[in-house]
């Protein structure tokens, strides 16, 4: 599925995004460099996918105005509403998941279902300790041989992103977000790599405890970049959840042998 690069202006923001597919809308907020993945392609086979470039990440101009995750979430809410008038499934990865979490809190009327992949809002660890783009990149993977699947961002982009992330307190436990988890009433899936070094193993249970309709998925032998370490497992989980929400726990695979 070929994604088309497009531009949207809304609420004083000019944001780049990529679009593909037909069907119910899905809005994706990703880390820079994680945009062209098998997950995007699989989703675009079934849904109309809008993958937004968060201001200040990737190749976008430096973001010098956003002071908090909630600012960025407000921007994402406005852009999403400009792209689709329907309720949408919101999927965020890593930093994008932290923004998506706030977006779901701020605009429950827009977000139909929420999928958080490797969120770091709760009990992050060692998120911003890497001093080079290469070190930060390697820290994302459980298996170093998988790190070559996705590009390392340039030193300049890394420096700009790091500055933005520090300003937005990425890598610091977001106690305000934790306090608002109970306000997320849409079906929610939080997916974690079982070998994620950037999030405490205690974090997943907090989402499960505090979000009323939340499932937790642990992907075995995957680090923070689950799509890099275990793409099939991530696809299987996210596609099932996007389709079935909390009923994804109901088994559909046949165990019948030699009927």
């Amino acid at each position: 599925m070929k994604f088309q690069e497009k531009q949207v202006e809304a609420g004083g923001f000019n944001v780049r995004y990529w679009e593909a597919g037909q069907g119910r809308p899905v809005v994706m907020l990703d880390r820079a460099g994680w945009r062209e993945t098998a997950l995007h392609d699989a989703l675009a086979e079934k849904y109309q996918v809008f993958a937004l470039e968060l201001s200040g990440t990737g190749d976008s101009p430096a973001n010098t105005t956003s002071e908090s995750m909630t600012d960025l979430a407000a921007m994402a809410t406005i852009i999403s509403a400009a792209l689709t008038s329907e309720r949408y499934t919101l999927i965020g990865s890593s930093f994008g998941a932290n923004v998506a979490l706030w977006q779901a809190v701020q605009s429950p009327e827009q977000v139909e279902a929420l999928i958080l992949i490797s969120p770091t809002s709760i009990h992050p660890q060692d998120v911003l300790t890497a001093t080079t783009a290469s070190d930060a990149h390697l820290a994302m993977f459980a298996h170093v041989e998988n790190s070559g699947k996705y590009p390392i961002i340039s030193p300049e982009t890394f420096a700009e992103e790091t500055e933005l992330l520090r300003r937005l307190k990425f890598g610091v436990h977001d106690s305000e977000a934790e306090a608002r988890l109970g306000d997320i009433h849409c079906p929610t899936l939080a997916v974690f790599g079982q070998a994620d070094r950037l999030v405490s193993s205690q974090a997943p249970r907090v989402y499960r405890e505090k979000i009323p309709n939340c499932n937790i998925a642990l992907v075995y032998d995957a680090g923070h970049c689950i799509i890099g370490d275990r793409p099939e497992a991530l696809l299987n989980t996210v596609m099932d959840y996007a389709e079935h929400w909390e009923t994804f726990i109901v088994g559909h695979q046949s165990g019948l042998i030699n009927p």
Binding site: R205, E209, N215, I216, L218, V219, D221
Partner: protein, 367 residues
């Protein structure tokens, strides 16, 4: 050092079996097996009475030699009769089992025993790969993922789904929670480097079975080094050695028994048809398997397997010194002993347990 008795629960007429695996169930007389399990439980009770610290159980299938295919069931029966001794499941053959079910069994046993459980994880012997038709090539992967999943299932307080390579569970929420928090002692039984390293990195105990002292030391040396790399030092209970033993009042009596054993030429312990054995080994190692080649080139015969050697044999002082060697050279802190030899009947096993408790345990306590 602690003493553990490996409760084999062998069928009492086990010397009458043919040298094949699996052993046809036709050889199992229900009245005899009922009596055999009762005798085995009596042996466990006596072991507790004379001072053993643990009684252990293992998953083995399709034979009367160690007929505990569901070790948790056996362990829970013994746990009702033995009130002090640790109940050690050493252990489940993880590649064959549903890891969530194993976690549930362990959690229940820890509750039933009021926190006396010791858990053990094993890959299993090659013949047992076939019990539930598992692909031998996947055994190690299933073992490692199974261990991760069980440890998570036993410690995670909220429901979760597991997206593994070999296991997928969309809802895991194990009840009851363990009595021993965060975990009971866990022993990983292995000779393989990657699994030894797993035990070291996860701060788990190590189990080694039946190897001579120098081969055991080669394994425990690696374990100690990798534990140090992982930033911890194993305690005395963290290294368990399972051994076969025959103890008599004197060395002379023990040697006389052993001479009789040699004359009786016991059959192979885990005999398989050569074709099946080589097919399993090829699958485990990823090598090509040529059935016709095996059939054409097997002058040694159709059945392969090794006699189970006796690791410790002698009078009380002799076996105590043999055991001490494993303590001193390998750091073994728990000696798990298979007393119920094939050719030793229940009455003689009881006598050995009593003798070991009276004459050997006081000595090994000092190690």
């Amino acid at each position: 050092m602690k003493a553990s008795m490996f409760a084999a629960m062998g069928y009492s007429k086990r010397t009458t079996f043919p040298a094949t695996w699996p052993v046809s169930p036709v050889h199992a007389d229900p009245m005899t097996s009922v009596q055999s399990y009762r005798e085995g439980m009596d042996e466990c009770e006596l072991a507790e009475e004379v001072g053993f610290d643990w009684v252990s159980f293992s998953e083995h299938h399709y034979s009367g030699r160690i007929p505990t295919g569901t070790p948790a069931v056996m362990a829970s029966a013994v746990a009702e009769r033995c009130k002090r001794i640790k109940i050690a499941l050493l252990g489940h053959l993880l590649p064959l089992n549903n890891p969530v079910r194993v976690a549930e069994e362990l959690a229940l046993l820890d509750n039933l025993t009021d926190g006396r459980l010791v858990a053990g994880f094993l890959r299993g012997t090659p013949n047992e790969d076939q019990v539930y038709t598992m692909n031998p090539a996947e055994g190690r992967g299933r073992l490692h993922e199974g261990m991760d999943l069980i440890l998570k299932a036993l410690t995670e307080p909220e429901p979760f789904s597991w997206e593994g390579r070999y296991y997928q569970f969309r809802t895991v929420a194990v009840w009851p929670r363990l009595v021993q928090q965060p975990l009971p002692q866990v022993v990983v039984g292995t000779r393989s480097d990657d699994t030894i390293r797993y035990a070291a990195e996860h701060r788990l105990g190590l189990g080694v079975s039946f190897l001579p002292v120098e081969q055991t030391a080669a394994i425990t040396d690696k374990y100690h080094a990798w534990c140090e790399e992982a930033g911890w030092t194993p305690g005395p209970d963290d290294i368990v050695y399972r051994a076969s033993i025959y103890v008599a009042e004197t060395d002379e009596l023990a040697n006389k028994w052993f001479e009789g054993l040699m004359k009786s030429r016991p059959g192979p312990n885990i005999p398989l048809r050569r074709t099946v054995s080589e097919a399993i080994e090829s699958a485990r190692t990823g090598n090509a398997f040529d059935l016709r080649g095996v059939v054409a080139g097997s002058p040694e015969g159709d059945v392969v397997g090794n006699s189970l050697g006796i690791n410790f044999i002698g009078g009380p002082d002799t076996v105590a010194s043999q055991i001490k060697e494993f303590h001193d050279r390998c750091g073994v802190g728990v000696m798990d002993l298979l007393i119920q030899q094939n050719q030793v009947d229940h009455k003689a096993v009881m006598k050995e347990i009593e003798l070991f408790g009276k004459e050997v345990i006081p000595q090994i306590r000092e190690f």
